[in-house]
């Protein structure tokens, strides 16, 4: 992955006359890179950074966009997904943005991408060294809904006072008989910092630990960057007698038959009929291209995807 050094490589278009490569000015990129380095040096620690207003609203991925803008270069291959799919509207919008301002090749192929920016999911395919996973984070502070004050939560991280988090887990077990989180399940990173992995489903938590790839997490509105470097210990919080569990389905993917992927529920009519399909659209497409078929292969959903691809 290359690093942009000057603004001479700005795209030729009219856009290029007014905007620097990848939109952000070089000073800002430098500031963000310093924050990234600090975040990698202290895994799980939230580094405050001077988040800029971007052409996309706060809450819609500006943290991830700024991370990508700071590290992307013309030799990168960029993939952008939302809810696991490449063609959800916001993913399309952000991918178009970078195609325009970074003049970069874009792809839907997880294996071919050097930078994967994602909202709320990690791809099924294991990531390799040389890939960077950029996650969009709405609320970087895992304790925020337990303690609204930033002055308090900052002190809790500094003093490693995470009792409040465990109290919340205790409450979950006492009320529901289990730790009833679905997504954004808090983790301990290197047994030091409590971290919010972003609203990825619990299912994806195990992918963060001991990964070959770098994970960068960015919250633009809350102005925090944090990271999980490769080969880092990431432990999902649990109790000894209520260990961490991931979601499972009885069904497999209706289109490709995958049994161990995260599945989306698709409502077919208002009589309760539904089907389950892979959330990771590329994973599903790759499997179908390789000949796998699920019980509803040939369904309209499948056809619509083929049309959209054309």
């Amino acid at each position: 992955m290359s690093v942009q050094t000057g603004s001479n490589n700005a795209p030729e278009s009219a856009l290029g006359r007014y905007y620097n490569y990848a939109y952000l000015d070089e000073q800002t990129k430098r500031m963000i890179r310093r924050a990234i380095l600090k975040a990698l040096a202290i895994p799980g620690y939230q580094v405050p950074f001077g988040s800029r207003e971007m052409p996309v609203p706060y809450g819609w991925g500006t943290g991830g966009i700024q991370l990508t803008a700071a590290i992307i270069g013309p030799d990168d291959v960029y993939k952008c997904i939302d809810q696991g799919a490449d063609d959800t509207t916001n993913a399309v919008s952000i991918r178009q943005f970078f195609a325009k301002v970074a003049d970069v090749e874009t792809t839907e192929d997880t294996g071919a991408a050097t930078i994967i920016q994602s909202r709320h999911r990690v791809p099924e395919k294991p990531l390799k060294a040389g890939q960077v996973m950029v996650l969009q984070v709405p609320q970087p502070e895992p304790l925020r809904y337990l303690e609204p004050r930033e002055t308090e939560t900052r002190a809790m991280h500094a003093y490693e006072e995470y009792g409040l988090q465990y109290v919340s887990l205790y409450e979950s077990v006492s009320r529901f008989g289990r730790i009833a989180s679905g997504a954004n399940h808090p983790v301990m990173v290197e047994e030091r910092y409590l971290m919010a992995p972003s609203p990825i489903p619990k299912f994806d938590n195990p992918k963060l630990g001991y990964s070959e790839a770098i994970y960068l997490l960015g919250a633009g509105r809350e102005k925090r960057i944090y990271a999980v470097p490769p080969y880092t210990r990431v432990r999902s919080l649990d109790f000894e007698d209520h260990p961490f569990e991931v979601q499972t389905w009885e069904e497999s993917c209706a289109l490709c038959g995958a049994k161990d992927a995260y599945l989306d529920e698709v409502v077919l009519d208002d009589q309760g009929a539904k089907m389950f399909v892979c959330s990771d659209s590329h994973h599903c497409a790759e499997r179908r291209a390789a000949g796998h078929a699920g019980p509803m292969a040939g369904h309209q959903l499948d056809q619509t995807e083929k049309e959209a691809a054309q």
Binding site: E53, Y58, D82, D87, G182, N184, R224, L263, V266, D269
Partner: protein
């Protein structure tokens, strides 16, 4: 009827943009709005966009208002995003509001003050009756305002000098070795907030939010019984010291509104009792904003710990974190983005809990 998930996004987005442009234009039979018209005749909207957008440029702000179809927070967003791309080549000298070319200046604290009470171009004493003459085509030219016989006092001293010789009003002189002021547009907020961070956040904060907070403090949610020491509006020079020259040059003139609220004295062991000040300063002619800002500034400085109960307006984190309408609008509206993956996780959980609940109920009934 088959439900199809959000697909075909690219085409949908392109079509949506085209439709939006049509809506913005409205009825093609009606003359297109010119940016200059917005700038001249919707000047208070332009002022608000400059203030909350943190960028003084009337033409850009007018363009933003037009592009945003009159939606002020949307226009503010456009200005802020544009501002991000502007290079920063330095900081101006502090504005000298004493040297303001005053167009309006009133004080509620005194019947008369040096320089006098200057009513200026204000809505204050108009009767809020819709003026249908404004709706007629071919409107007659507006009446000309009369010119005064004598020029007004210049410079017009601020409330500070009135109190200065008695030392009744606290002063905030920065010490010679004070660090550079905080820059909220480049650094993230941190608490407890210094005065510079606080005032910057308030200056660009949403007018509606600050207005409501100020209102709440006047109604008893907090401890502020403010008195309007002074409001002034007019033009001030912007000065900048280029490195090459080493002396200040005037690079332009901007309109600002400044408000000083006087709050109750605070007995502090080592200082004699004094009036505390709430300060508001905003681009353009925005009195409601300047006043709200000053009231909220004063309320935030209250020693809330002493009084125990913290009203929302006294809660620094609550006020400063939620005053930015670009952040607020983004996050509130992001709820429109798909959340079906986390929702799926949630559905799984609730279905399992329901299953267990009904199993338990069945067991209970069987036992009875």
């Amino acid at each position: 009827m088959a439900y199809v998930a959000v697909k075909g996004g690219e085409k949908a987005i392109a079509n949506a943009h085209k439709w939006l442009a049509e809506e913005r234009r409205g009825d093609p039979a009606v003359a297109e709005l010119e940016v200059a018209q917005v700038r001249e005749q919707l000047s208070l909207a332009v002022d608000r966009v400059m203030g909350e957008g943190s960028c003084y440029d009337r033409d850009l702000a007018a363009l933003a208002v037009k592009q945003a179809r009159g939606d002020v927070p949307e226009a503010v967003f456009l200005i802020r995003a544009y501002r991000t791309t502007l290079p920063r080549f330095g900081a101006s000298a502090p504005l000298d509001t004493v040297g303001m070319a005053v167009r309006r200046r009133v004080s509620a604290a005194f019947k008369d003050i040096p320089g006098g009470q200057v009513l200026g171009p204000t809505f204050d004493y108009t009767h809020r009756l819709l003026d249908f003459a404004l709706a007629a085509d071919g409107v007659a030219p507006p009446p000309e305002a009369a010119v005064a016989e004598e020029p007004q006092a210049y410079p017009m001293p601020t409330i500070d000098s009135v109190f200065a010789h008695e030392g009744l009003l606290e002063t905030d002189e920065p010490s010679a070795d004070a660090p550079e002021p905080f820059d909220l547009t480049r650094e993230p907020m941190s608490f407890p907030a210094g005065r510079d961070q606080r005032l910057q956040a308030l200056a660009r904060g949403d007018e509606g939010f600050l207005l409501s907070l100020a209102y709440s403090s006047q109604r008893g949610w907090g401890n502020t019984h403010p008195l309007c020491g002074e409001i002034r509006m007019g033009e001030v020079a912007v000065e900048f010291v280029p490195e090459e020259l080493g002396f200040p040059i005037e690079i332009g003139e901007i309109t600002v509104t400044e408000c000083q609220m006087l709050g109750g004295s605070r007995a502090s062991g080592d200082k004699p009792p004094q009036y505390m000040r709430g300060y508001g300063l905003v681009f353009g002619h925005s009195e409601r904003k300047a006043m709200s800002m000053a009231i909220v500034d004063r309320a935030l400085r209250d020693n809330a710990a002493a009084s125990g109960q913290v009203a929302p307006v006294q809660d620094e984190e609550f006020v400063l974190y939620h005053s930015d309408n670009v952040e607020a609008s983004g996050f509130v509206q992001h709820l429109k983005l798909p959340h079906y993956v986390d929702f799926q996780a949630d559905l799984q959980t609730i279905r399992r809990l329901r299953r267990e609940y009904f199993e338990r109920q069945a067991l209970k009934e069987a036992a009875e």
